[in-house]
């Protein structure tokens, strides 16, 4: 009797572990969607760059400002940084662009450099251009009115 009870409880325990897994597996799709393997998956929709516009307001404190224009073909390498041809301190007035922040001239020991610090040189690591894409998930974030 004891043996039967033990076997029974092991079976129930085992089932409680496995059944949810089986149920869950049925709901999970691979990244290519719910398609038969020999069929083509749906093509991702083409996204267009948003047209040039005025600077986009920040949504939270210290948010890297979004790029309000196309950056197609803009190169950033050791020889040249296309962004800086308008946003540098020597050019921003003439170009009518936003000036690069002074914080970008500091290295990680807070030494102020004469030129853009290497860790801040790759603009598009933080600043990103926008396309006409809808958010993938619902987002109810609202900035605090006091620090907006």
């Amino acid at each position: 009797m004891k043996k039967l009870l033990l076997a029974g409880s092991v079976l129930i325990l085992g089932l409680t572990a496995v059944v949810p897994q089986i149920l869950a597996e049925e709901q999970v799709n691979s990244l290519r969607g719910d398609h038969a393997l020999d069929e083509n998956s749906t093509e991702p929709e083409m996204k267009n760059w948003q047209l040039d516009r005025d600077p986009i307001p920040r949504d939270h404190v210290k948010q890297p400002p979004l790029i309000p224009h196309k950056t197609q073909g803009y190169k950033i390498n050791l020889k040249f940084n296309k962004c800086m041809s308008c946003h540098s301190w020597t050019k921003y007035k003439e170009a009518g662009a936003t000036k690069i922040s002074q914080s970008h001239f500091e290295d990680r020991e807070n030494n102020v450099m004469a030129n853009v610090a290497a860790r801040r040189y790759f603009c598009t690591q933080c600043h990103v251009p926008q396309v006409d894409a809808k958010p993938l998930v619902e987002n109810t974030f609202k900035p605090l009115p006091t620090v907006k």
Binding site: L51, D52, R53, D54, H69, K70, G73, K75, L78, K79, F80, N81, K82, M84, S85, C86, S88, W89, T90, K91, A95, G96, A97, A114, N115, V116, A118, Y121
Partner: protein, 200 residues
């Protein structure tokens, strides 16, 4: 046969031609010579000719393939001579004669490796910038002229700067550098657009 006799003989030979045959022959010769000359010159004015040297094919041609002048929305393409050789005959001949210097450097192997090319890139780019500046970007304006631009169809940035450029008498190359090929190391030109040391 004395010299006098020879001259007389030649005069006799000349007299054999009538004015008409001379005229027709002259025109025919002219057409063949002039046509052949221009035909040969046009042969050297093709992309195929330009990239027959590996210096062009492996460096500038590869870079150009990633730019808007190679591939774009409307499918219009500008090839090497469209930007680098003037369209007008006189200017074209002058440019072609100057280009003979490039043959010398091909023979010397001045830029026959990527390293040599990169080392000379600034100087080569500056040569072309200077040429474009001097001619008021003549080759750009074969397609892009201020007169036929609809500024209202341009983006916010282009709109403002193009109108200012017209007022200030700027030319295309003043701003549009490195649009069809990679830029050289810009430390010496403008240190504010590069990372690191402010002078080299």
């Amino acid at each position: 046969m004395s010299l006098k006799d020879k001259i007389k003989c030649f005069q006799g030979w000349l007299a054999g031609f009538t004015a008409t045959t001379l005229l027709v022959g002259g025109i025919a010769f002219g057409i063949i010579f002039w046509g052949g000359f221009n035909w040969t010159m046009e042969l050297t004015n093709t992309e195929q000719f330009c990239i027959s040297c590996h210096e062009m094919e492996d460096n500038v041609y590869v870079e150009y393939q990633n730019t808007i002048h190679y591939e774009n929305r409307t499918g219009v393409r500008a090839t090497c001579p469209d930007c680098h050789v003037p369209k007008e005959w006189g200017h074209k001949i002058v440019r072609k004669i100057r280009a003979s210097n490039e043959l010398l450097h091909k023979a010397l192997g001045s830029i026959n490796t990527r390293e040599k090319f990169e080392n000379k890139r600034l100087k080569l780019a500056q040569n072309e910038w200077r040429r474009m500046k001097k001619t008021d970007s003549r080759e750009c304006r074969n397609c892009h002229s201020f007169d036929s631009m609809d500024y209202t169809a341009q983006g916010r940035r282009a709109f403002n700067r193009h109108i200012k450029a017209v007022d200030d008498g700027q030319t295309c190359i003043d701003c549009h550098k490195g649009i069809a090929h990679e830029l050289p190391d810009m430390h010496e030109v403008d240190a504010s657009v590069v990372v690191g040391q402010t002078s080299k």
